[in-house]
Amino acid sequence: MARPAQRTHDRRIMIAMTIYVVVLLGVWPLARTAGEPWLKIGYALAPVLPLFYVIWIMARKILDSDELEQRTHLIGLGVAAAVVSVLSIVSGFLAAAGAMTLESTSVVLMWIFPLLMLAYGAARSQAARRYGGGACDEDERMPAYLRLLSAAALLAFAAAYLYFRKGEQDAAEMMLGMASALAAGSAFFAVRRWRRRRAHSE
């Protein structure tokens, strides 16, 4: 039986995240001005749909994995759950004590899913490394620098869009900062890949 290609998985995730950003920028802001409560709820929850698609892709990926891959997924998810749980309880205590405003608590809640994904990815690649696999097995998946560059381009696009919207400058600056960090990461992986290839050819 042919195993599903990692590149296909990467491409699906990239498409889903692009849809997510487009919906977040194009549909979610309409919730603020929507009159009808059901419309407000619909617009506010629209970005959740692409996230369900991401969860479905990940579930498929884990189910199609072999036993060692499932073990690394388990380690990654365990670490991510621990990180997110600690962050949630810290924000819960701070909010209950009145040290955090309700608005900043909602910002923390919105960052839980991205943080979960980030911690899961980092912990899983670390676990894979422990078993001799690379964080970026570039013979089987989209190179890390390309993945990071695509994410940076997506965030840069979102930042540019938000910059020209009234009252969204702070969000634009934050997204631009994230895009810059991802672009720097992409440059690091590109240089590392180039150096490894050069060393391999000598």
């Binding site: 195993r3 036993e67 060692l68 422990r130 078993y131 696999g133």
Partner: protein, 65 residues
């Protein structure tokens, strides 16, 4: 646990990718087994033994614990 998977694979002239395809696992898993970084489950060990037409105990050797 040590094993002779690499020798058996090389005797057949297979790459890690070829063996991975026969076992329906990833190439990284084959590499982890060959380098004794990962001990396979019993079903996978049986699959390896069946593929090489050997017994499990002739392929997998207990290490010093």
């Amino acid at each position: 646990m040590n094993n002779h998977v690499r020798q058996l694979r090389e005797q057949r002239g297979w790459s890690q990718g070829d063996l991975a395809e026969h076992l329906d696992v990833s190439r990284q898993t084959v590499n982890a087994i060959e380098t004794s970084k990962y001990d396979p489950s019993l079903p996978l060990a049986f699959k390896i033994a069946k593929l090489f037409r050997q017994t499990i105990e002739s392929i997998f050797v207990p290490g010093k614990d």
